[in-house]
Amino acid sequence: MLTRDQAAEIFARIRKHATADEVECLFYGGNSALTRFANNTIHQNMAEENYGVSVRTSFDGRTARAATNRFDDDSLRDVVKASEDLARVQESDADLLPLASAEIASSRGRDARASKQPDLPSRHFEQTAKLTPAERADAVGQIVRIAQRHKLTAAGIFASSESVEGIFNSRGLSQWHTQTLAEISITMLAPDSSGWQKANSPDIAALNAVSLAQVAAAKAAKSAAPREVPAGKYTVVLEPAAVLDTVGFGFYDFGGLAILDQRSFLSNRIGKQLFGENINIWDDVAHSQQSGAPFDGEGVPRQKLKLVENGVVKRLVYARGTASKMNNSEYAGKVGPIEATGHGFPIPNEMGEAPMNIVFEPPAEPKTIEQMIASTERGILVTRLWYIREVDPYEKILTGMTRDGTFLIENGKVVCGLRNFRFNQSLIEMLSNVEQMSTPVRTSGEESFDMVVPAMKVRDFNFTEVTKF
């Protein structure tokens, strides 16, 4: 693995090549491996090691970035020149701030201090970093044997990685983060049905391949011979992965720049009752079930923030530059507290910032999925959603499909599998119609970044079509 000291030495060499007023370097990369299986066979199996540096140079309001994965002197000289060539020819932008200072990197942020945010837990586990191809194959073998025992076909992945993220700049800022991640995803296929489970964690010890395979197999078996029921508005029990992949479409709109750009569904809605009073959402990089680096694309520490309180959006997240613009805009005083919160993307960029460590607050009276089903007279249990896309950016209407385990609930029991539905559902309405929630858990899907989210029982979920399987 690239070490902090090695990166510091590379940064020092980059600075020697630079003529710019300011220089910032982002380091990234690591070791990763992924064992992929389908038809009860490992059919793809790969490993990679790669590190890169992205060099940002600035000249008096002009800035640009260039990246390379070569650290020899010629390559570093070239990457600095490429960055400077792109920066020099621009018009000067009076809004561009100097690089973040070393003092900013060591600060904790107002809200963090107020909430006595604990230090980031270690996210690097040797047992994850040392996983071998043979160990991954052993686990896949266990998954396949469960599939064969149930006369099913297994497909999925078992991945592991060890990665670094670091940032150094010419104002003395220096941040470094290492972590590991293991991930297992399993689809069990029957002739006319399927089941799915996925989980990830920095610590491989937290994952149980056999348990995931058994649940996926049970879902495939239970949803065999699916019935077709007409499209319409139903009460749904959304498992956490289905919640994750829908709510994920909302959080890019929680950046201050999205408001300034007038591309956010939160425009004119901050401080108003937007969701149900039972919805409370944090962004908290230090949460025990979260992962990722505790600093943003400029090296600013990520603050713990309460974004939504009792269904009211209370505040946004900000990169340093966006906070400065917002304070000088017509929106100041209308969008909650304005300060750099440590959620910015590397500069230059068009998106600004976003909260990437979402944690839903546990409900006052959490219910298990089984309790949600038991309390439902007629409804639909959804394992997973797929191919979700935004239909309407302001009403936040999303379309997509159910997949890999959709069930009819009648009189408090799961009675059969169902053919899959297409939905067209406003995210705002969905989060206004939540009747019950489970205790939030770390969840991974395919359409959004990982979060800590609950299962939800939602009324009037809008299914508009039924597909053929």
Partner: protein, 486 residues
């Protein structure tokens, strides 16, 4: 490069590989963007590395490294062999490859102007001019422009003796005007969504796109959508302009014909396909006007799926996919061709970069234009009542590729052969084969454009690939419209 390939191939062979290939890729890209008159993006990136893919004990292994010194290359090859041996612990049968003649070749994307040779000032000046045109329209609240270049140089060597050097250039550009007012965000993009138009070409593409000339109209349409009527819900005849038809092909033809999906290899992520093997040459996919090819050859045009050889050394080919409405072909690789009994791979295996496994990807999946001369205006003139859909805004399809729903940025009601009114928030939905069987007219070659889709995601870890889709506007009868807002 020959030394490097020898180190890798020899190591793989000595350690037990029955087949091995080596790819070395040097990738360079540049991205420029403006947003409301300021720089949105100015970035350059280079990446160089190598990978080794091996078959050992009838199973695949793959390893990659940015370090191309002899020790690292040999270690990477050895690692690939170890990984393949682990793969062989869980298999039902041995991987077999259909034969392919090993060749030595050199090929470069035909281009007039190397985009990396153009001045950055010139690039930014053009984008700023477009930006100014968009924001000159009252009511445009956000203007975004972009221009992107990529050069991908690859050396491919195989244990069968192939030595192929290819250099591909990609150029893309486009812009978006947003208008936020009341409770609506409307937008218009040009020449297409997904960052505009993308082709395997040099900088000459930028001049062809007439970016500045269309900016004012696009800004005005974004604002005008606020006072347009909502697209009605119901069953209507519809006309898709060519970029939307290109995406319709991508989602409802291109993906389901991928043999790896058909054979279940993508079941956990991208999904499978309704095009099970017994449907080949028996399924009536579309009406007799529907003729679709998968064509990676240079003569098809400068699509994002144009190359001379795929990433396992198979020459670019043209495969008939739908012939007069009959389903006639899949996208295949050497491995999947062997599974289904084809004599030869269709040559569609591609990787995102040096550190990713090549997999079946769409090449240029294009619908052939109508034989009889027919312009879009003539098609509209011959239509009593329909809705015309322009420029994709949302897209979604199930994991077997039956049920789809698309939304576009703008629609037009066609009445008595004329554009009667602008419609906002148009959407349509349907089932793949029913939809293609309802096509009753397609415009001719003059209206045919080879669109680039730069953002096709597939695989684990996910790889993003560019694909090409040639299309001319076409009409479909009795399609469900408007359910996205129902």
């Amino acid at each position: 490069m020959n030394d490097l390939s020898s180190w890798a191939l020899n190591t793989a062979s000595v350690r037990g590989a029955t087949y091995a290939d080596v790819r070395v890729v040097h990738d360079r890209s540049r991205g420029l963007a403006t947003k409301n008159g300021k720089i949105g993006n100015a970035s350059d990136a280079q990446s160089l590395g190598m990978s080794v893919r091996v078959l050992v004990n009838g199973a695949w292994g793959f390893a990659s490294s940015a370090d191309m010194g002899r020790d690292a290359v040999e270690n990477t090859a050895a690692r690939a062999v170890d990984i393949a041996k682990a793969s062989a612990q869980v298999k039902q049968s041995d991987v077999k490859l259909v034969p392919e003649q090993a060749v030595k070749a050199d090929w470069t994307t035909p281009h007039k102007i190397d985009p990396f040779s153009t001045s950055i000032e010139q690039n930014l000046a053009l984008l700023e001019k477009v930006d100014a045109e968009l924001r000159a329209v009252k009511g445009v609240t956000l203007a975004e422009t972009n221009m992107n270049f990529r050069r991908e140089e690859q050396w491919f060597f195989s244990s069968e003796g192939a030595e192929i050097h290819q250099t591909k250039y990609t150029t893309g550009a486009g812009y978006v005007a947003y208008a936020f007012a009341g409770n609506e965000i409307q937008k218009r993009s040009y020449p297409n969504s997904f960052g505009g138009q993308w082709q395997n070409k040099g900088y000459e593409l930028i001049d062809e796109l007439k970016l500045v000339e269309n900016a004012r109209r696009i800004g005005e349409e974004a604002v005008a959508l606020h006072s347009a009527d909502q697209c009605p819900a119901g069953v209507f005849d519809i006309i898709l302009e060519s970029s939307q038809l290109g995406l319709q092909i991508h989602e409802s033809v291109g993906h389901p014909i991928e043999l790896d999906r058909v054979l279940g290899m993508e079941a956990n992520f991208a999904g499978t396909s309704f095009l099970t093997l017994e449907k080949l040459r028996t399924l009536k996919y579309g009406s007799e006007l529907v003729n679709v090819v998968a064509d990676a050859r240079q003569e098809h045009g400068p699509g994002l799926g144009t190359f001379a050889f795929d990433d396992e050394g198979v020459p670019a080919q043209c495969t008939p996919i739908i012939t007069n409405g009959l389903f006639t072909g899949y996208l295949s690789s050497r491995e999947t061709a062997s599974v289904v009994g084809l004599q030869r791979s269709g040559g569609t295996l591609r990787a995102e970069g040096w550190n990713r496994l090549p997999m079946i990807r769409m090449t240029n999946i294009s619908i052939l234009p109508g034989q009889k001369p027919l312009t879009l205006e003539q098609l509209i003139s011959s239509t009593d009542h329909a809705i015309l859909f322009q420029t994709n805004r949302s897209w979604s399809i199930d994991d077997k590729r039956y049920n789809f729903q698309f939304g576009t940025e703008i629609g037009w009601e066609i009445k008595n052969g004329k554009r009667a009114r602008m419609l906002k928030n148009p959407s349509y939905s349907g089932f793949t084969t029913g939809f293609w069987n309802s096509m009753d007219a397609i415009c001719s070659r003059d209206e045919w454009t080879l669109w680039g889709t730069p953002n096709c995601g597939k695989g684990q870890p996910q790889q993003v690939m560019g694909t090409g889709h040639g299309a001319s506007p076409a009409r479909f009868r009795k399609v469900k419209v408007g359910s996205a807002y129902s």
